[in-house]
C-alpha cells in the first residue's frame, strides 16, 4: 500500500531517505492515552510522545506498526519532551516528570533506558531546552520561578541557577547563535540572562499585557527573538542596541491568544498556533518587518477538531552544503490526532525560502534510523516460523520494584492510522482528512489502505489471530482454527497462513496465501486450499474489492460470496466503521487496556478483550448513507426535563441524584481538561488586571465555575475516561517517586485529569473494594424517573370551569351570574367578581334599556371597562376568560344581509327534535315533555315570530328553573341549539345586536375562541368546542371572514379517541353510552359510536337517505 513516490517532488532523490514513504503524504495517527507532549527526532523519522504512562516511540515511516512503549507511570502530566538536536546524542530524549527531568536513551533497553535524572527544581518543570551547540548542556524552567542550566557530564546539580523570584517561568530558550544567552518568560515579560554575568537578567523585555506563552530566538539573528502571549500578540524583540524603544521591534496582532509562536526553520517567517479559537489551525505567516501589523498568514493548516498543543518540523535533505531541505509539519492536538502535513512548494516561496542555495555551514546528517522497536528484541530475528510474533512487551521497573506489563493492541493502533495519498494541494486552507473520500473512490476498494482493512477485518473476525501485521511490506501472518480435517468435519484444525499483499493492492495481482504445513492436513490439501484462495482473491481483485475478509472467511470454513456483482454491492461495512468512529466508541483506549495477559498466552491479539468496549453502540448496525461528519456537534443529552401536557400536567424526568453527582463530576473533569480554552475571554480581562504573581493560575481558575461539555461526544469521552480512570485507580500501584515534596504542579496548571490530583492510595485492595461498592450502589438506586405532576393550579384555564360555564341562557345577566357562581365554587374570587360585574352591567342595560340611567349603559364607559377586562386577562394569560367573554358579549349568527345559500338547509328541525327526545326522556321523567315542548317551541317561536328579543332570551324561557332535576344545560349540552337560530324558510339567521365589543377587535376574538376551542379539544370536550366555535359567526364578523369561513371548516367533524366527558352521552344509534371512539356531527351535535356511525351511514347511503341517526334531519354526511 505504501508506495514510494519518487520523482514527484523531484529534488530529493531516493538517497538515504528512500523509505520516507509518509513524507509527502498527509497522515493522521490517532493516539489515545492522554498524550500531552510530542517531539520529533532530528532525523525526522521517529516521534516521541509522552504521557503520564510513559513515552511512546512512533516510526513515522511505518505508522502501522504499534509504537514502542517505555513505561514510566507517574501521576503527573508531562509538560515537555524534547529530542536532543545533536548528532552525538540523537537518541536522547528528555521529558519532564513534575519537578524532575528524565533523560532517556532510546538506544537502550526499556528496563534501563533512563540515562539521567535531573533533580534540581522544587516545583514542576515547565520547559526544557537543549543547548544548540553543546550536546552536554541543557536548561530547564520551572514553576518555582527558577531557570537552571545543566551539564550532563555532572548531572547531579545544575551548573547555572537563576530565579525571577516573582513569577514562575513558563519557557526557557538558548540563544541559537550565542550559547551563553538564555531567555525565559515569566508572567508578562521575558528575561534575558547571560550565564557569564551572574544571576541578574541583563535585559527584561516588557510590553505584553498578559501571560507570555512562548519565546523563540531567531535562527539567523543573534539579537532577535519573538514572544507570543495570551494578549493575542506576537512581539519581535531586538536587543542589540537601543534602536527600538523597549527593544520592541515589531508587534504582530492576531485574532487569538497565541500559545506557540516560533520562527520557521526555513525562510523568513513565523508559525503560530492559538491557545484557543483560531479554528484549531496552524498559521504560517510571512514576517514583513512592519512595526505594527496583523498576522499575515500565508498558509493555514486546518483540520484538527480540538486545540493544537504543539507543532514540530520534520525535515529531510540530501546534500550537506546545499540547502535542499524539505519540510513536513507535525501537529499534536487535544483531539488525540497526530497529524503530518506536507508543505507545498508555493509555501516555501511565500516565506522566501529558496532551496538549493549554497550554505556557509554544513547541514547535519543524522542516521535515518528508527528506535521504535524494542532494542533487545531487534537482535533476535523473527524468522516467522518458530517464535510467535510478539508486540514489544516491556517490563519496566518502577522504583518500588513492581512490574507493570503493557500491551498495545496492534489492531487498535492500526485503526487509528489514516494516510491520505493525495499530495500537496495548493489551496489556501487544506483539510487533508476530509472524509469525502468515500464518494471519490466509488469504484475502488472499501478501505483506504491495507492498514485500515486489517484493522476493521481484524475487529470483525475475533477468531482470527494476527501474529504479524506489517503494512509497509504487505505481510500478514494469521492463525486460526478451521474445519479442514478431512475425516472429522467437526474437528477444527489449527492453521497458520502467511498472506502477502503486493503494493498495488487491491489492484494488480491478487495477494498470495501460503498455508503452513501441518500434521492434520495433507500437503495436497494445502495445495488445493491455496489454489482456491488464489481463485477467490482473483475474483475480488478483478472487481477491485478488498479480499482479506473473504480469504479469512474461507479459511474459517464459512461461506464466501463469489459472485462479482454481489461483491460490489456488499460495501456496507465502511459506513459502519465510520459511524463507529464518529461516535468515538470504537476506539478502544489501547493505552489503558488493563487486561494483563499471561506471558505464556502471548499470542498477540486475544481479541476477546477488545470487543466488549464498544458496547454503548451496537456493532451490527449499519446505516449506509450515513456520511461521516467531521465534527460531531450533537449536544450533550438532556438528562432532565419538563414538558407540559395539554391538560396542564407537567411531565418531568430526572436523572437520579446519584448519576447526577456523576454528571457533576464529569463536568468538573471536563472543565479541567479543557479549561484553558473556554475561559479565554474572562481570562483576558482578568489577566490584564491581575498581579503578576497570580497570573499563571488565573487562566484556569476563572473557567472552573460553570463550564460543562457541549457535545455528546465530549460527554461520552468523559464518561469513558472516567470509567477508565476508576479502573486505573483500582489497579494503580503506588509510585514512590524519589522526592514527593512537590505537589502535582502540572495538574494544578493543566488540570488535565482531576482524578490524579490526589495522591494515589497505597492499598490496591482498598480501591477495589471501593469500586465494588460503587457499582453496587449504582444498581440499587434509580437511574431515572419520569413523573407526571399536576400543575393545573398554575394555569388559569380550568377543565372544570369549561364544563360548567354557560355561554347562553335565559338572559345574559343570568348567564353571567351562573358563571360567577361556578367560578366562586372553585375559589376563583377575582374571576367570579368579574363575572358579577359584567352581569350587573348587562342587567342594568337590558332592564333600563329605555331609561339610559345606569352607568354601565353609558356605551363608552362600558366599553372601556370591557377593554380593561380584556387587557387584564391578556396580561394574566387567561385564555379561558378571554374566549368566554368574546363569546358571551357577542350575538351569534350571520347577518341578515349575508347570503347563506351555500349552507345545506336543515330539514324541519322541530319535528325531528321532538320525536327523538320524547322517546328518550319520556320514560324517565314526567315533566320532560314540557321542556321538550318548550324547546321545540323555542324553535317554532324563532321560526314563526322572527322576533326581536335576544337569542339568549328566546332560547330558554326559564325552562331550567321550572323543571327541577332537569337542568337545561344537560339536555341541551350546548349542542341542540348550536347557536344558529336558523330560519329555514327564508334562510336567514336571526340575532339581536349587542354591540358590546368593538368590531375591530373581532379578529382577536376569533383568535381567542379558536385557541380556546383547541384547548377544549385537547381536553376532549367536543361539544363545548363546537359551541365556542359557532360564536365565530356573529354580529361583528366582517363579510370577508364570513365568505371565507366555510361551515364545514368551522364545525369539522372529528374522530375522537375516548374522553372523559363523552361518557356522559349515549350513542344515537345503539343508545349505549359512548366512551371510546366517537363520531360527533358538529352541526346537529349527534353523537355516535364510531362503529355505529359506520354501520348507520353505510346503511343510509345504501338507502339513498343520508339523514342523521338522531332523527334531526341533519344531513351530517353532507358536511364531510
Amino acid at each position: 500500500m505504501v508506495t514510494i513516490d519518487t520523482g514527484n517532488k523531484g529534488f530529493v532523490g531516493s538517497g538515504p531517505y528512500s523509505p520516507t514513504a509518509t513524507f509527502e503524504k498527509s497522515l493522521a495517527l490517532r493516539v489515545d492515552g492522554g498524550i500531552n507532549a510530542v517531539t520529533i527526532a532530528p532525523s525526522g523519522r521517529d516521534v516521541v510522545m509522552a504521557s503520564k504512562h510513559g513515552i511512546y516511540v512512533v516510526d513515522l515511516d511505518d505508522p502501522y506498526q504499534p509504537p514502542r512503549f517505555l513505561e514510566h507511570q507517574t501521576p503527573w502530566q508531562v509538560a515537555d519532551v524534547q529530542y536532543s538536536p545533536h548528532l552525538q546524542t540523537s537518541t536522547w530524549v528528555i521529558s519532564t516528570s513534575n519537578q524532575n527531568a528524565l533523560i532517556w536513551n532510546l538506544m537502550r533497553n526499556a528496563t534501563n533506558a533512563i540515562e539521567h535524572t535531573l533533580h534540581g527544581h522544587n516545583r514542576a518543570i515547565t520547559d526544557i531546552n537543549w543547548h544548540p551547540e553543546n550536546h552536554n548542556l541543557l536548561s530547564t524552567a520551572s514553576v518555582d520561578t527558577t531557570v537552571l542550566a545543566w551539564d550532563l557530564r555532572d548531572s547531579k546539580r545544575p551548573v547555572y541557577k537563576t530565579a525571577d523570584w516573582r513569577a514562575s517561568a513558563s519557557q526557557v530558550k538558548w540563544n541559537l547563535k550565542n550559547g551563553n544567552i538564555l531567555a525565559s518568560s515569566h508572567g508578562n515579560y521575558v528575561s534575558l540572562w547571560d550565564m557569564r554575568k551572574g544571576t541578574k537578567p541583563f535585559i527584561q523585555l516588557n510590553g505584553h499585557v498578559s501571560d507570555v506563552n512562548n519565546v523563540s530566538f531567531n535562527p539567523n539573528d543573534e539579537f532577535e527573538l519573538i514572544s507570543s502571549s495570551n494578549d493575542g500578540t506576537i512581539k519581535v524583540w531586538n536587543y542589540k542596541d537601543d534602536t527600538f524603544t523597549n527593544y520592541q521591534k515589531q508587534n504582530i496582532t492576531t485574532d487569538f491568544p497565541v500559545w506557540r509562536g516560533r520562527y520557521l526553520p526555513f525562510g523568513r517567517g513565523i508559525c503560530a498556533i492559538p491557545l484557543t479559537g483560531g479554528s484549531n489551525s496552524v498559521y504560517l505567516a510571512n514576517n514583513n518587518d512592519e512595526a505594527n501589523s496583523k498576522l499575515s498568514s500565508v498558509y493555514i493548516f486546518k483540520g484538527h477538531n480540538d486545540r493544537i498543543t504543539d507543532f514540530l518540523w520534520r525535515s529531510r535533505h540530501s546534500e550537506q552544503n546545499i540547502d535542499d531541505r524539505e519540510f513536513q509539519l507535525v501537529t499534536w492536538s487535544n483531539d488525540s490526532d497526530l497529524r503530518l502535513w506536507p508543505i507545498a512548494d508555493s509555501v516555501y516561496e511565500k516565506v522566501n525560502f529558496t532551496r538549493k542555495e549554497e550554505l556557509d555551514h554544513q547541514l547535519t546528517s543524522y542516521p535515518y534510523k528508527t528506535y521504535s522497536k524494542e532494542v533487545k528484541s531487534s537482535s533476535q530475528k523473527i524468522d516467522g516460523h518458530n517464535i510467535a510474533y510478539k508486540f514489544p512487551r516491556e517490563k519496566f521497573t518502577t522504583k518500588t520494584g513492581l512490574f507493570v506489563k503493557k500491551d498495545i493492541d496492534h489492531l487498535s493502533w492500526l485503526s487509528g492510522v489514516r494516510v491520505d495519498n493525495d499530495n500537496v494541494d495548493n489551496t489556501e486552507t487544506i483539510d487533508y482528512f476530509d472524509d469525502d473520500y468515500l464518494d471519490e473512490e466509488e469504484d475502488e476498494g472499501m478501505y483506504r489502505n491495507l492498514g485500515e482493512e486489517v484493522a476493521i477485518v481484524g475487529k470483525k473476525l475475533h477468531k482470527v489471530s494476527f501474529e504479524k501485521i506489517s503494512v509497509s511490506t504487505g505481510d500478514i501472518v494469521v492463525t486460526l482454527n478451521g474445519p479442514w480435517n478431512k475425516h472429522k468435519k467437526d474437528k477444527l484444525v489449527f492453521i497458520r497462513a502467511i498472506i502477502h499483499f503486493n503494493s498495488n493492492y487491491p489492484k494488480g495481482k491478487p495477494p498470495s496465501v501460503q498455508i503452513e504445513e501441518s500434521r492434520e492436513i495433507s500437503n495436497d490439501d494445502i495445495h488445493i486450499m491455496e489454489l482456491e484462495l488464489l481463485k477467490l482473491a482473483q475474483i475480488y481483485i478483478d472487481s477491485k474489492q478488498n479480499c482479506l475478509e473473504p480469504l479469512l472467511l474461507f479459511l474459517l470454513g464459512e461461506k464466501v460470496e463469489t459472485d462479482p456483482d454481489t461483491i460490489k454491492k456488499a460495501r456496507a461495512d465502511i459506513a459502519e466503521y465510520d459511524i463507529m468512529k464518529n461516535l468515538g466508541l470504537d476506539e478502544e483506549d489501547i493505552w489503558n487496556n488493563d487486561a494483563i495477559e499471561n506471558d505464556d498466552m502471548a499470542i498477540t491479539n486475544d481479541s476477546d478483550d477488545d470487543d466488549d468496549d464498544g458496547g454503548a453502540v451496537s456493532n451490527e448496525n449499519s446505516s449506509p448513507n450515513f456520511k461521516k461528519k467531521k465534527f460531531d456537534s450533537t449536544p450533550v443529552p438532556k438528562g432532565c426535563g419538563a414538558v407540559f401536557a395539554p391538560g396542564g400536567q407537567l411531565i418531568c424526568f430526572f436523572t437520579s441524584s446519584n448519576s447526577n453527582k456523576q454528571q457533576q463530576l464529569q463536568n468538573k473533569l471536563f472543565n479541567g481538561s479543557n479549561g484553558g480554552i473556554r475561559g479565554y475571554k474572562a481570562n483576558r480581562v482578568e489577566a490584564e488586571k491581575s498581579d503578576r504573581d497570580s497570573v499563571l493560575s488565573s487562566r484556569f481558575d476563572s473557567t472552573l465555575l460553570n463550564e460543562t461539555p457541549k457535545t455528546y461526544l465530549e460527554s461520552l469521552s468523559l464518561k469513558t475516561k472516567k470509567e477508565q480512570d476508576t479502573k486505573k485507580n483500582s489497579n494503580k500501584l503506588f509510585m514512590g517517586m524519589g522526592n514527593m515534596n512537590g505537589e502535582d504542579e502540572w495538574d494544578n496548571i493543566l488540570k488535565n485529569d482531576i482524578t490524579f490530583r490526589t495522591k494515589i492510595s497505597v492499598e490496591t485492595s482498598k480501591n477495589e473494594h471501593f469500586e465494588k461498592k460503587q457499582t453496587n450502589s449504582q444498581s440499587d438506586t434509580a437511574v431515572n424517573r419520569v413523573m407526571i405532576k399536576d400543575y393545573s393550579h398554575l394555569i388559569p384555564d380550568k377543565k372544570e370551569l369549561a364544563l360548567k360555564y354557560k355561554t347562553h341562557g335565559e338572559s345574559l345577566p343570568l348567564v353571567c351570574s351562573h358563571n360567577a357562581n361556578v367560578a366562586k365554587n372553585y375559589g376563583l374570587a377575582d374571576i367570579s367578581t368579574c363575572w358579577d360585574i359584567i352581569g350587573t352591567m348587562l342587567k342594568s342595560r337590558s332592564k333600563d334599556a329605555m331609561k339610559h340611567q345606569d352607568w354601565s349603559y353609558d356605551y363608552d364607559g362600558g366599553k372601556q371597562f370591557l377593554k380593561d377586562v380584556f387587557q387584564f386577562f391578556e396580561k394574566s394569560h387567561n385564555l379561558q376568560m378571554l374566549a368566554m367573554l368574546s363569546c358571551i358579549l357577542v350575538a351569534t349568527g350571520r347577518p341578515e344581509n349575508m347570503n347563506t345559500h351555500s349552507i345545506t338547509p336543515f330539514i324541519s328541525c322541530d319535528v325531528s327534535f321532538e320525536g327523538n327526545h320524547i322517546e328518550k326522556f319520556g320514560k324517565s321523567l314526567t315533566h320532560s315533555r314540557d321542556s321538550i315542548m318548550r324547546q321545540s317551541s323555542i324553535f317554532s317561536q324563532s321560526v314563526q315570530s322572527n322576533m326581536n328579543s335576544s337569542i339568549h332570551g328566546s332560547m330558554h324561557n326559564g325552562g331550567s328553573d321550572q323543571v327541577p332535576g332537569l337542568k337545561f344545560d344537560v339536555l341541551k349540552t350546548d349542542i341542540f341549539d348550536n347557536g344558529n337560530v336558523y330560519y329555514p324558510k327564508t334562510q336567514k339567521f336571526v340575532y339581536n345586536k349587542l354591540e358590546l365589543l368593538d368590531k375591530a377587535q373581532e379578529k382577536r376574538c376569533i383568535a381567542y375562541r379558536d385557541q380556546y376551542a383547541e384547548l377544549l379539544y385537547c381536553w376532549g370536550f367536543q361539544a363545548e368546542r363546537s359551541n365556542i366555535m359557532r360564536f365565530n359567526v356573529n354580529e361583528n364578523s366582517d363579510t370577508e371572514y364570513l365568505k371565507k369561513v366555510d361551515e364545514k371548516d368551522m364545525f369539522k367533524g372529528l374522530q375522537v379517541v375516548g374522553t372523559v366527558h363523552s361518557k356522559l352521552k349515549n350513542c344515537k344509534v345503539c343508545e349505549e353510552p359512548v366512551s371510546k371512539r366517537s363520531f360527533v356531527c358538529n352541526r346537529c351535535g349527534c353523537l355516535t359510536h364510531a362503529e355505529c356511525a359506520g354501520i348507520w351511514w353505510n346503511a343510509a347511503l345504501m338507502a339513498g337517505d343520508i339523514t342523521c341517526p338522531s332523527g334531526c334531519g341533519c344531513e351530517c354526511l353532507a358536511l364531510y
Partner: protein, 334 residues
C-alpha cells in the same frame, strides 16, 4: 336520565370538593429505561406517555387519567401500564412527539443515528413502525409536528446544521423533504409557530430554530413557491449554544418565544401582535444567570407557565406577572 344527572352531580361534587392539585404527583415511573431519559411526552388527551432514552428505545405507557383513580384502586395500581417498547434506533433517542389525533395515534421520534421514525398505534395497542426517514447526515436532535391545520408536517433539526420539513401523505408515504441550512455547526432545536401567530401575513407557516452558532432564527414559508422557506429574523442574544427554543402555543396580545442555552440563560422574545411591525424584542427571563446550563423550555398549552430544566437536574416554573415581569412559579420537587 337519572344516570346522566347523577353522573353530572358526581362530577360536581368531586370537582367542588377537590381543590386543585398543587403540583401533586399523579404518576411516577422509575427506571423505565436503563439509561438517561431524554424526553417524555403525553399525547393530546393525556392517555399515552412516550419516553425515549439513551438505551435506544422508546417506551409507550398508558396512563390513567386522574390521580384520584389510582388512589381509589389502592397502591397496587401504579397509574400506568407499559404498552410497548419500540426499538428501531441504533443510538440514543433524543426526542418524541405525538401527532394530532386527527392523524391517528402517531408518534415521531428522532435520534443520534440520524433516523426519524414514525410509529402508529394499531388495534392491539401496539405500535407499528410506519416510516423511517434517514436523510440527515448527523444526529437528529429535535422533531415536532406542525399545527394540525397544516396537515401532517414534521419539522426536524439536526446536528448536520440543517432543518428539514417533511410531509406525510396517507399511509406513511412521504414527500421529498425540504432541507434548509439553518445553523452552521448544528441545529439543536426547532419549533413551529402556532397557527394563530400573526406576523403581518397570516398565511405563512413559521418556525423557530436554535443552534450551535448561538443564534435563534425564525423562518417563514414563502407563499410564492410552496416548498420554500425563507429566513425572516435572526435573533442574537445568547453567548453560547442555544439548546432549546419554544414558541408559546397561545397568542394573546403578544407572542412569546423562549430560548435557553448553554450560556445558563433563558431569553424571552416577544412579538407584539397589536403593532404591525413584526419585531421581536429580547428580554432575559431573570437577571443574572442560572446556576447551570439550561436544556429545555416548555410552555403550557395556554402559554402562561414556562417550565425550564437544565444541567443541575432542577425544573423551575415561571410566570409573567401583570407588570410583564417574569417571576418564579415554583420548583418541581423530585
Amino acid at each position: 336520565m337519572s344516570v346522566i344527572a347523577s353522573a353530572k352531580k358526581e362530577l360536581n361534587n368531586d370537582a367542588g370538593a377537590k381543590s386543585y392539585g398543587q403540583g401533586e404527583t399523579q404518576v411516577t415511573i422509575s427506571n423505565a429505561h436503563s439509561d438517561l431519559i431524554h424526553d417524555a411526552v403525553l399525547d393530546y388527551y393525556g392517555k399515552r406517555l412516550a419516553t425515549c432514552s439513551s438505551d435506544k428505545t422508546i417506551k409507550i405507557f398508558e396512563v390513567s387519567q386522574t390521580g384520584s383513580e389510582s388512589a381509589e384502586s389502592g397502591s397496587d395500581n401504579p397509574g400506568y401500564v407499559l404498552l410497548d417498547t419500540l426499538s428501531e434506533h441504533n443510538g440514543p433517542v433524543w426526542q418524541v412527539d405525538w401527532a394530532h389525533p386527527k392523524f391517528g395515534t402517531c408518534l415521531a421520534s428522532c435520534g443520534y443515528d440520524g433516523k426519524i421514525c414514525i410509529w402508529k398505534e394499531n388495534s392491539n395497542k401496539k405500535f407499528e413502525l410506519i416510516s423511517v426517514l434517514q436523510y440527515h447526515t448527523a444526529s437528529v436532535n429535535s422533531v415536532q409536528w406542525a399545527p394540525h391545520e397544516y396537515g401532517p408536517l414534521l419539522l426536524c433539526g439536526s446536528s448536520d446544521g440543517s432543518v428539514s420539513i417533511v410531509e406525510f401523505k396517507d399511509n406513511g408515504i412521504v414527500t421529498q423533504p425540504i432541507i434548509l441550512e439553518a445553523h452552521q455547526i448544528g441545529v439543536n432545536a426547532a419549533c413551529w409557530a402556532p397557527i394563530t401567530f400573526n406576523g403581518g401575513d397570516n398565511t405563512s407557516k413559521r418556525f423557530v430554530t436554535g443552534g450551535c452558532d448561538n443564534l435563534v432564527k425564525i423562518w417563514k414559508s414563502d407563499e410564492s413557491s410552496p416548498n420554500k422557506y425563507v429566513l425572516e429574523h435572526t435573533l442574537k442574544g445568547h453567548s453560547d449554544w442555544v439548546r432549546d427554543v419554544a414558541w408559546s402555543p397561545s397568542v394573546l396580545n403578544k407572542s412569546y418565544i423562549a430560548s435557553v442555552g448553554q450560556d445558563n440563560q433563558c431569553i424571552i422574545w416577544t412579538n407584539d401582535q397589536e403593532s404591525q411591525s413584526n419585531e421581536w424584542k429580547q428580554s432575559f427571563l431573570k437577571e443574572g444567570k442560572f446556576e447551570d446550563v439550561l436544556w429545555r423550555a416548555s410552555w403550557s398549552l395556554s402559554g402562561d407557565v414556562l417550565a425550564l430544566s437544565g444541567g443541575d437536574n432542577r425544573i423551575t416554573l415561571w410566570r409573567e406577572n401583570l407588570q410583564g415581569k417574569w417571576e418564579s412559579a415554583g420548583e418541581v420537587n423530585e
